[in-house]
Structures are given as C-alpha cells and as structure tokens.
C-alpha cells in the first residue's frame, strides 16, 4: 500500500493495539517504529507526500488540552496516509456539558473512529480510554505522565544523527517533575542503552529517584547544570511553565535563568557534537539562550519534522494495515 519503492519494515514483533507509553516497549519495537518512520520520511521527501495506506480509516484527534504542534502533526500525518480526520476539542463539544470521557469515546466509536489520538490534562486518561474503547488509542500527552510520540521522535532524531543510541549520554534540564516528555524520554533513552542525567531546581525534580531501582535504571540527578551537561551527547531543555513560580516551586524566573538556562558557554562542557533539543514551544532566553535554541547544535526544527514521520509510522502500525503490504 505504501508503494513498491518504499522498504516495508518487518512488523512481526509489533503487538500493540494502543500506544499509551513507551515503558513497555522492547528495543526491537523501538526499531520497528524507527524503520517504519524511515519509510515515512522517504514519502515526506517526495513532491506529493500522500499514500493510500489508511484510506477508509477514520482518525479522531480528541484534545482535552490546547495544542498546536502535536495536533497539527497528527493531522498532517493522518492525511498523508489518506485517513479521514476528525478534530474534537473539549471546548467545542459536549465535554463542556459534562459528558464523561467514556461516553465521548462511545460516541466517537459509533461514528466510526478507528484510531483516537488523545490528549488529556489528567494522567492516565488514555489508559481508561483503552479499557473502554474498541478503537486504538494513541496517547498524545496525558497530564504529567507520558508523551510517547514525542519521545519516539526525540529518539528518532538522535538516532538519525548518532546512528546508535547505546552508550550515549543525555542530560534533561528543567521541570522534570511535571514533564510528560521527560518521563517518556527517560524510559525510551534508558531502554535503548543511554545514560540520563536529570537537572533542575529540586522542587521540579521527580520523587523517588534517589532509589530508582528497576523503575528508572541508568538515571542520576545532578543539581549543578555545568556538571550535568559535562560530556553530554544530548542536552534536552524542557519548557518552563511560568505558573510554577506562582505556585511557590520557584523563587523567580530570573533565578531559574541564571542557574539552569542552557547557554553556549555551558554547552562548551558538553561533547563537541552535542545535540540541543527541546519539545517546544521554546520560551526563548528562559530555558534556552537564543543562540543555543537556533545555533548549529540545535535540532529543534528537525524534531518537528521528524514528528510527522514518527506519527505516520505509529498510525500505520496501529492501523493493522501492514499485513497488506
């Protein structure tokens, strides 16, 4: 269905009906996603970026939280695969009338949804959806918990630059406690053999990592950003929500900038070919100095482009159509 010139990935080991997080992925499953995304990248390089792989399938973007890039990325990905796409937002639906998540899912199912891409402000909501829905659920970000497609596109971007991920060192800087992106990346990176250093104000670091055990292996916490980025192959800054200051987790944004901003000076301590990443949107000159955000080491725009390929890959793999290749 893709076309004859596109190498079809072998998907015998792909057993997921939903994509809720990457914590249950094997290294082989990551590789299936990446090789499928390679095929999708090839499609995206063509003048006409459209294939009939999901023709006749309906993809619903069910967004309980505002989003620009993730929602648009999924919409483009689904349309590139010729799916019918429906966008449902909480503010313009019966959700505002108090309709429950399960009722909403049943309605979408009755309307023929095959895949539901779901963003929700409550952690775990996609797990509830997966229990009660016949459609495949893709978690497009839930509360503070997980954002698996963002992690997959981050890992895919690193893989494109570095070849293999095993043995690489990543440093994640910022509000790790509330970052679903960081949580999924920690799982993905460590499962693929990377070491992860977390750095940020103590009030924004996750609990329980002083004794991570089997939950988060190969993770360490470092308070000083200069030490955290030393020899790092990847430095990922996280978006700082300004309300963290209002809720007493930060003395001031100014102090945060002084202590944790990724500057070109601090990046000198990292590996020479370090990749600077950010899930976006960037608060310029807060978590990243402008010259870091847009410097030659930055792959932030590539992350956005790779996101479409990764999301096409996930939609394709969950569609069950790969048997038709």
């Amino acid at each position: 269905m893709l076309n004859e010139t596109t190498a079809a990935p072998k998907t015998n080991a792909w057993n997921h009906r939903h994509l809720l997080d990457v914590d249950d992925f094997t290294p082989e499953e990551f590789e299936i996603v990446f090789s499928t995304a390679d095929a999708m990248s090839e499609i995206l390089s063509r003048p006409i970026k459209k294939v009939p792989a999901l023709r006749g399938q309906t993809v619903v973007n069910l967004f309980y939280e505002n989003s620009t890039r993730t929602r648009a990325s999924f919409e483009i990905a689904a349309k590139n695969l010729s799916a019918d796409v429906l966008n449902v937002t909480s503010t313009a639906s019966s959700i505002t009338k108090g309709e429950s998540l399960i009722d909403t899912l049943k309605t979408l199912e009755a309307l023929g949804a095959n895949i539901i891409v779901m963003r929700h402000n409550f952690s775990g909501a996609p797990y509830l959806a997966a229990k009660h829905s016949k459609a495949s659920i893709i978690n497009a970000g839930d509360g503070w918990h997980a954002h698996p497609t963002q992690a997959l596109l981050d890992l895919y971007t690193i893989r494109k630059h570095k070849g293999s991920l095993a043995g690489l060192k990543a440093t994640i800087v910022g509000d790790v406690r509330h970052s679903r992106v960081a949580h999924s990346n920690i799982w993905g990176m460590t499962k693929l053999g990377m070491e992860v250093t977390l750095c940020g104000p103590p009030t924004l670091l996750p609990y329980g990592l002083d004794n991570p055990g089997a939950n988060f292996p190969k993770v360490r916490v470092e308070n000083q950003v200069e030490k955290a980025v030393a020899n790092a192959d990847v430095v990922m800054a996280l978006r700082l929500q300004r309300e963290r200051q209002q809720s007493g987790l930060l003395p001031s944004v100014r102090e945060y900038v002084e202590r944790y901003q990724i500057t070109s000076e601090r990046l000198k301590k990292a590996a020479k070919d370090v990749l600077v990443m950010h899930p976006g949107p960037v608060n310029e000159d807060i978590e990243l100095a402008t010259e870091s955000a847009y410097g030659e080491k930055s792959v932030i725009n590539e992350q956005v482009s790779n996101g479409v390929a990764i999301r096409m890959a996930i939609l394709y793999l969950l569609s069950g159509r790969q048997g038709e290749l």
């Binding site: 409550f122 775990g124 509830l128 609990y207 990592l209 988060f216």
Partner: protein, 431 residues
Amino acid sequence: MKNFLIKGGRLVDPAQGIDGKFDIAMADGKVSWIGAGEPPKNDYTVIDATNLTVTPGFIDLHTHLRQPGFEEKETISTGTAAAARGGFTTICSMPNTNPAVDNRATVDYVKCVASREAVVRVLPIGCISKGRRGETLAELGEMAGAGVIGFSDDGSPVPGARLMKQAMEYAAGLNLPIIDHCEEPSLAEGGQINEGIVATRLGLAGIPNAAEETMIARDIALAKLTGARLHLCHISSKGSIDLIRAAKTGGLKLTAEVTPHHLTLTEERCLGYDTNAKVNPPLRTYADIEALIGALLDGTIDAIATDHAPHTENDKCCEFALAPFGISGLETAFGSLMKLVHSGKMPLPLIVEKLTAGPARVLGNGFETAGSLKVGNPADLVISDPAAEWIVETAKFASKGKNSPLAGEKLKGKVIVTIYNGNIVHEEDIR
C-alpha cells in the same frame, strides 16, 4: 430468638485471655456458658464449629454508611448487611453525610433508621465542626446527649489548631474522644497517591507522609495541653508510628487505628491507574507496612478499623484524578488480615484482639461488653474459617460499594456465621 450451642471450635476471646477448644452457649441473646463438657440444660440449636474459630463479634471504629444524603453509595441497611457479612457486630458510623451529623436531629435520624433497618449495632459519631467546615464547633454537648461515641470531621482534617484545641477542651468535659483524620491540607492539596516513585511513574501528584505526620504532631501537642482523649484515624506511615509510640510513653489518652488495606497493600496497587486503590491516606510502601505491623505487635496501635468507604461504579469509573478516595472494606477485612496470619507476621489472637477488645477499649464508656464473650455479655459472635479459600467477587458484596482493589483476588480466611444479639445475621451458603 434461638438459643445456640457452638461446639468444637477454637474459642479466641482476648479480653478474657481465652484461646482454646471450648464450647459456648448463648441464651436469650446473651452469652450463658463457656466450657467443656455438658452445658446448662436448654433447648439449643447446635452449631458444629470443628476446625473453625469462634470469637467475639468484630467492632469497626470507622465505617461510612453514607445515609443520609448519599444513599446511592450505601444505606444503613446495606452497610450493616455488609458489616454482618464481614463479621462486624458493632460499627461506628462517620458523620460525613449530607446533611452532616453535626446536631442532635441528625444523630436521632441515624439512630432511628438504624433501629428499624440495621442488622448490627450502629454507634454514631458526631462532627467536630458545623457542616465539617472547620470553622465553628458543632453542638458537641447535645450530640453527646443523643448518644454519639465521639467527634470527628473525618474525610477532612480540622485545619485550624485553635478550633481543634477548643474541640478537645470541650470534648474532654464530655469524656468523649476527638477522632481525627490527620492530614495537613496544604501538603496534601491536589495529591492523588503516595508521594514517591510510583507517583513519579504515573505522573500523579503525591501526598507525602509528612502531611499525616505534621498533623499528628500538632494534635498530640494539643492533647497534652487539654488532657483530651484523642483517637487517630487510619494511620499509614512509619513516621506517624514513631510519633504515636513516643507520645504514648508520656501517658496521654491517645489511641490509634490502622486499616486492613494499609496493612496489606502498597502504593504499587495504583499502577495501571486502578481507581479502586485510590484511598486517603494513600497506600504507602513496604517499609510503612512493616512499621504498622510492628505497632500492632507492641500495642502502639490499638485497633484495626476498616474505613469502609463505599462508592458507586460510576464514581470510580473515571480518570484517576476525578475518582473519589475510598475502598469498600467491610467484607474483605478478615480475609485480608488473615494474609498476615498465614504469612507468619501476626498471630491470629492478636488480629482478633485488634478487632474486638482493642476497639472496645477505645470506645470505653460501657461499650467494653461488645468486645468480649464474657458470660452475661450480649451474644455478639463470629465463627470463621481461617483456612477457607475464596475469590473476592464484588458483585456478591452486600454493600452497594463494589470498589475493592481485591476484586478477583483469592483470599484465605472467611467469616462463616455472624451472630448479633443472639440472632444469626449472616450465614455462608456453604454451611
């Protein structure tokens, strides 16, 4: 009312120091004889308790019956039927109903419905503050006159130390305990589960141990100041145990309870976002469980109470953050606790003590008779089979609340017969 002769069982009555093979007779709703051999002549219905355990009826210091106001979750009728199924013959009902039990009229209402519909003894608890709002004292004296056994804003702490001090001073004059839900609201705000690695994994806001411990420290200080009787609800953390143990050596009138779920389940039950494991205080860690067991063994904790908190399926079938806290616990309490016996962590007589004589001592004021099978006491009695294996089928619960994290789990240890005031109020189908 029949007269019963229960023969061949292992009689365990910690209040009397009895643990052995004795027969027991009940006549006219009271215990009439304990011994071996021939009982006093009477027209008995004989129950063969060979290989079974015979104990006083259990006392639950902490039950949510939901009536008035939340009858879709539970009623006094269904809640007491659940109690009977769990072996409880006396339950203390928490006042967080709608309207809250914060005056004589609502106490009278609960007692009136209970006298008509309850199958076991219901002892109401009154609020500490009007409407449980933590602002002004409820009419503690009037409620005492109407028969409450203590005062609590359970479900919520009393946030202001000044009001708590006043409540303790007033309750001390009534010789009734303040029964406190210990939780510092600013530390627990927004929290869903125990603060720790599982909360991190699930991306949920945590409730730290310190939320409980700081409030316990405050209340102990106030109890010292006022001389009040203080009973601490559903203790969950090792740090709390340390505080209570130290305070008890100072001679305070301090008692405390722990729930079966905090003794047997850890925070990991929440993995997969099982809202049935969402409870307040949250399930904590193995280290906390070990401390709680140690506190039962050395007497720091006086009683095991269920904190039975029934909710509807709709209430719990939602996003984790939106689900209410609570576990429907009356019917699984004994089976859960037997895990501790079968694993060698606690002896059976101690479990029985914490379900009978222990809570009876907390109640005081003449209610001690409810916790013992002394001749002449009310015939409240439980026959249980410590070896019976059964699967927790929530659909069979007498409680309207089917919200149990143990659904589908195999337990070993089951209540077979419950007798209240000389009447069988629960009997297993298998017998």
